[in-house]
Subunit: 288 residues, 2 copies
């Protein structure tokens, strides 16, 4: 055991309150099958493997796995792994930036060394309007809620395909009781799960991300791509710009804080650029 | 971060093929609430905390948590944590034995230093016959199988309360497709989940343990108390004695091997003593 390992907590400054990612260094010593087996074993929503970059623009390469499959990109594993390579001294920010090579291409990360906040620009988002009322009724039923509790509903692809649902309030989000069997059936409509969010009286949001993994219902403790999907809905439907705070994890004994910035500017084909960020803290530091 | 941490793989000699347990040393620095929060965060079926023993007969004290609650005793966490304290040099076997203090009392562990095999004696078991045919029909339905595929069914309490089901073959065990919503409802009958097992043509067994945790369906990769429950059924119903091998985890990309020994001798109020054992290997070695 001479290769670095870190289990990093993301979207929190307080240990054990965020979303953990297991980061295995020297991923180049493993086959894809071995990486998948390890990610299945850690039982975390995501496990990453750090490898040397293969292009000069990148500081490191990252491969990201859920317990069941490889992802081209994911939010909290990216922030946690960037924190890990910085902490290990493997990488230093250049002008406050770090470039991660991953399945989705090169991802720019903005690193605020004083606060520890790390932000990524959502690579892209794509919206598909959902206007199939019987489907929306079924979605509401699968969440144990009434149809009229859904304020807006859009299929957002930003890596994962999230059926993104704005509910009437943060409390409504916390009250949701998912029927995962029904969610599993409905996911044949082209989404991997639900990204639910609703506003608190103070203007911040509460979010939850529910999906199926290996035939089992899973709730992600704090989800970066989900927060990006939520923010893109606020931007595209209501013209929201600026900063917002999305809290997540209260139903799972966590206290995640995601800071999102929305700017109106071209980001590939999108009208808005969306930056998703947060703090990260190493909880386990070791070797594998 | 100066306290030891190990993530140990149990019921395997090959890394990432068994059932992981996260072992946090110096548990005396944490409150019960903090332990529960950490166990929730690791997302493993069990997380343990090593503390100094409070009685002279014990070598160390162990507290065992699932993501949702504390357990008085559990099999794979006990074997993995014993492996961890031995590897860390915190404890040395005395005459091949280590004594663990835990919620269920003092547990004797037999350590074979040459093979690395660690066995515990099941503290007790209690059988309740299940003869409610409509319930058995519903149980079969919740497993996606026919009633006549169940060879025997007994409620076994050996710490957890397992509804223990012998199926017609190992293949039948692998073919089971659980409906966790239905299992959740049926568990009101006094069990936490199902311990399924069935025989291979070579005489060994395949097992699966299915339960509900935090309202979600969970399959335990390799389960010591489940194997103990299975063996107790074979002993009490058929008078089985001797050694048997229970394999587990194939549906979850693992390859667990549990070695069980059944001896006819008084073990508290039980006619048979049941020893459950296996190998363990440290996959992550660090600090927390």
């Amino acid at each position: 055991m001479s290769k670095l390992f870190k289990q990093v907590d993301v979207f929190t400054s307080e240990k054990f309150k965020g979303n953990p990612v297991a980061v295995f260094f020297n991923g180049e010593t493993l086959s894809t099958e071995e990486m998948q087996a390890i990610a299945n074993w850690t039982n975390l929503s995501e496990t990453t493997f750090v490898l040397p970059a293969t292009v000069p623009e990148a500081d490191y390469q990252l491969r990201i796995f859920t317990t069941g499959r490889e992802l081209p990109f994911a939010g909290h594993p990216t922030i946690g792994s960037c924190h890990a390579v910085l902490e290990a001294g493997l990488v230093r920010p250049r002008n406050g930036q770090v470039t991660q090579q991953c399945g989705a291409g090169l991802v720019q990360l903005l690193v605020d060394e004083s606060s520890g906040n790390i932000k990524f620009k959502l690579p892209y988002y794509k919206h598909t309007t959902i206007d199939d009322e019987p489907l929306i009724e079924e979605v509401a039923e699968s969440l144990g809620m009434q149809r009229d509790g859904i304020k807006s509903i859009v299929l957002v692809e930003d890596g994962p395909h999230w059926l993104t649902l704005e509910l009437s309030s943060a409390q409504d989000v916390l009250n949701v009781t998912p029927n995962y069997g029904q969610i599993d059936k409905l996911s044949n409509n082209g989404f991997i799960g639900y990204s639910l969010f609703g506003q608190y009286p103070d203007g911040s949001y509460e979010a939850r991300n529910l999906f199926i993994e290996n035939s089992l219902g899973v709730e992600d403790p704090v989800c970066g791509s989900g927060a990006g999907a939520d923010a893109s809905l606020l931007a595209e439907l209501y013209g929201f710009q600026g900063d917002l705070v999305i809290k997540q994890g209260r139903k799972l004994r966590r206290d995640g804080h995601i800071s999102v910035t929305v700017k109106e500017q071209s980001n590939n084909d999108n009208r808005y650029s969306i930056y998703v960020g947060g703090n990260a803290i190493t909880c386990v530091d070791g070797k594998w």
